[in-house]
C-alpha cells in the first residue's frame, strides 16, 4: 500500500509547507460551501418548520418530496443549474456561469432539501412537546414555527452540519457549473478529481485526507459549541 504512505507523506508536506495554492483552494471550498449552507438554512429551515407545524393541503406530498430530494444526484443539480445560468438559459444575462456564485447556487439547491427535511424532523419532535403550551398561549402556527426554530437551534445545528458536509464533499455539481477553473472555481473536490485524472493518485488522496480533516475539524468545533450551549441553556 505504497499509495497510502505516499499520500500521508504528501499531505504532511502540503500542510507543513502551508502551500499557498492549497490554502487558496481549501479557503474557496469553505467559503462556497458555507455560503451555500447559509442560503440553504435561510430557505430550508422555515420550509422544514412549516412542514412540521403547518396544516395545509399537499403537506404530506411535500414531506415525501423533500425527503426524496435529500438524495438528489449532484450531477443532475449541476446540469440543471448549468442550463439555468448558461448564456442560452433563462438566467443567462447575469453571466454567473463558471463563478463561485454559480457553485453556491448549485450547492444551495443540493443542500436545501436536506436542511428542510432534517429541520422538519427536529421541529416535529419539538412540536409534539410544545404544541399545547404554544397554542394555549395563543401562538399562530407560523409564530409557533418561528418559536420552535429558535428554540431548537442547537438540534438544528446538526441539520446545518449535514448540509455543509454534503456541500463540501460533492464534486458533480461544482465541476459542471464552476468549470474547475484554476484560481477561480477550483475547489478541493474538483482538484482531487483533476489530480486523479492526471494519475497522481497519492496527491489526490493527500488532498482527500486534508478535506476530511477540515470537515472533521469543523464538526468538532460545532459539536463543542453545541455542547456548551446545551449545558448553558438546558
Amino acid at each position: 500500500m505504497t499509495e497510502f504512505n505516499d499520500a500521508f507523506l504528501t499531505a504532511w508536506q502540503l500542510l507543513a509547507l502551508s502551500d499557498a495554492r492549497l490554502s487558496a483552494i481549501a479557503w474557496l471550498s469553505l467559503r462556497v460551501s458555507l455560503a451555500a449552507t447559509l442560503v440553504a438554512c435561510v430557505v430550508g429551515m422555515p420550509i422544514g418548520a412549516l412542514l412540521a407545524v403547518g396544516r395545509f393541503p399537499g403537506r404530506r406530498v411535500l414531506i415525501v418530496l423533500f425527503n426524496g430530494l435529500m438524495g438528489l444526484p449532484p450531477v443532475v443539480v449541476g446540469l440543471l443549474v448549468y442550463l439555468l445560468l448558461s448564456r442560452a438559459g433563462p438566467l443567462g444575462q447575469f453571466g454567473l456561469l463558471f463563478s463561485p456564485e454559480a457553485m453556491i447556487v448549485a450547492q444551495a439547491v443540493l443542500v436545501t432539501p436536506i436542511v428542510a427535511a432534517l429541520t422538519r424532523q427536529v421541529i416535529a419532535d419539538e412540536w409534539s412537546e410544545y404544541r399545547e403550551q404554544l397554542r394555549s398561549l395563543g401562538a399562530s402556527r407560523s409564530r409557533a414555527a418561528a418559536t420552535l426554530l429558535w428554540d431548537g437551534r442547537f438540534s438544528l445545528s446538526t441539520a446545518a452540519l449535514a448540509g455543509f458536509g454534503r456541500a463540501i464533499a460533492e464534486v458533480g455539481a461544482v465541476m459542471i457549473v464552476g468549470g474547475n477553473i484554476d484560481g477561480v472555481t477550483r475547489v478541493m473536490t474538483t482538484t482531487i478529481a483533476l489530480e486523479t485524472s492526471k494519475g497522481d493518485l497519492p496527491l489526490a488522496l493527500a488532498l482527500g485526507f486534508i478535506l476530511i480533516a477540515v470537515v472533521l475539524a469543523i464538526n468538532a468545533v460545532a459539536y463543542a459549541l453545541r455542547g456548551w450551549a446545551e449545558r448553558h441553556w438546558g
Binding site: 485524472s197 494519475g199 450551549a229
Partner: protein, 273 residues
C-alpha cells in the same frame, strides 16, 4: 440575550464569507478547451505569459472537444481551443464561430502493456490497431465524443476494422476523459490511444509504455476560434481576439514551443501567418 447576539454575529460572518466569494471584477476571457491542453500543463505555462503582456486573465474550462464546442454554442465561452478539425469547421459553418485558425499540433501515441501481447509495436498506427483487434487484446476507448475519441474512430475506419461488427469484450468504451481512461487502461493493462502531452504528465502508468508513435497520421491539429458575437452579443470580442492574435503570433508560438516536460517538447506551433 448573549446567544442571540452571538448567533446574529455568526450569521453576519457567514454572509460576509458569501459576499467575499464573489471575486473583484477582473479582466478575463473564458476559453473552452480540452483536457489535453489543460492537464498537460500547457495552459499553466501560457497563462502568466499572456497575462503579463495584455493584462487579461484566461479562465480555462477543460472538457472534451465535443463538450467544449457545445458549451461555446450555448454562448458560455469567448474562445474555443480544441482539436477536431471536422467538428471545428462545422462549428464555424453553423455560424457559431467567426473563423478557425490553426495554432499547433501535438501527436497521438498508442499506449499499451510493455509486454505488447498484440505485437503492435512500431510506427504504423493502422497496422498496430489491426494487430490489437486480431489479438483481441484489451483496448480502452474514451467514448466521450472528444477530439481524441473522434481521432480514434477515424483510425479504426482507416485501418479497415469495422468496430460495429468487431466490438467485443476486448473493446472497453469508458465514456471518460483522457486521465480517467488512462487510469482504466493502467489497471486493466490495456491498449489506449492518448495524446502525448497527457501521457507525459500522467503519473499512474503501471505496466504501460508507448507502443506506436511517429506516424504522420498521428499528428493532431489544434485550432482556435472566436465565438461569434453575432450569435452571442456578450462575447468579449476584443479581448478574445487579442488572445487569438497573440497565440498565433511569433511570440505566442515561441511560448508554445518552449513548453517541455522532462526536456520533451509537447506541442509544435504551426500557425499560418
Amino acid at each position: 440575550m448573549i446567544t442571540r447576539r452571538l448567533f446574529c454575529a455568526a450569521l453576519a460572518a457567514c454572509s460576509l464569507l458569501a459576499a467575499g466569494a464573489s471575486q473583484a471584477q477582473e479582466r478575463f476571457i473564458t476559453v473552452a478547451s480540452t483536457t489535453s491542453t489543460e492537464q498537460s500543463g500547457l495552459f499553466g505555462h501560457l497563462l502568466p505569459i499572456f497575462e503579463k503582456v495584455h493584462g487579461i486573465k484566461l479562465r480555462i474550462v477543460a472538457l472534451g472537444t465535443g463538450q467544449a464546442l457545445d458549451m461555446a454554442r450555448r454562448g458560455d465561452a469567448d474562445v474555443v481551443f480544441v482539436h477536431d478539425r471536422a467538428a471545428e469547421e462545422k462549428f464555424v459553418a453553423e455560424g457559431y464561430g467567426v473563423k478557425r485558425q490553426e495554432v499547433m499540433y501535438n501527436d497521438f501515441v498508442v499506449i499499451g502493456p510493455k509486454a505488447d501481447p498484440a505485437k503492435a509495436l512500431g510506427r504504423d498506427i493502422l497496422e498496430g490497431l489491426r494487430r490489437i483487434e486480431a489479438a483481441k487484446a484489451p483496448f480502452v476507448s474514451r467514448g466521450d465524443k472528444s477530439g481524441t475519441h473522434a481521432a480514434e474512430l477515424r483510425y479504426w475506419k482507416a485501418a479497415g476494422v469495422d468496430l460495429a461488427a468487431k466490438k467485443g469484450a476486448w473493446y472497453r468504451d469508458t465514456g471518460s476523459g483522457m486521465g480517467p481512461a488512462l487510469n482504466t487502461a493502467a489497471s486493466m493493462n490495456a491498449y489506449i490511444l492518448a495524446d502525448r502531452g497527457t501521457w507525459l504528465s500522467f503519473r499512474n502508468r503501471g505496466e504501460l509504455g508507448i507502443v506506436v508513435e511517429g506516424d504522420q497520421k498521428l499528428f493532431n491539429q489544434y485550432g482556435v476560434i472566436l465565438v461569434n458575437p453575432a450569435k452571442h452579443p456578450h462575447v468579449k470580442q476584443a479581448d478574445g481576439q487579442k488572445f487569438i492574435d497573440w497565440v498565433v503570433s511569433a511570440e505566442g508560438q515561441k511560448a508554445i514551443a518552449d513548453y517541455k516536460i522532462g526536456g520533451e517538447q509537447l506541442f509544435f506551433p504551426n500557425a499560418r501567418r
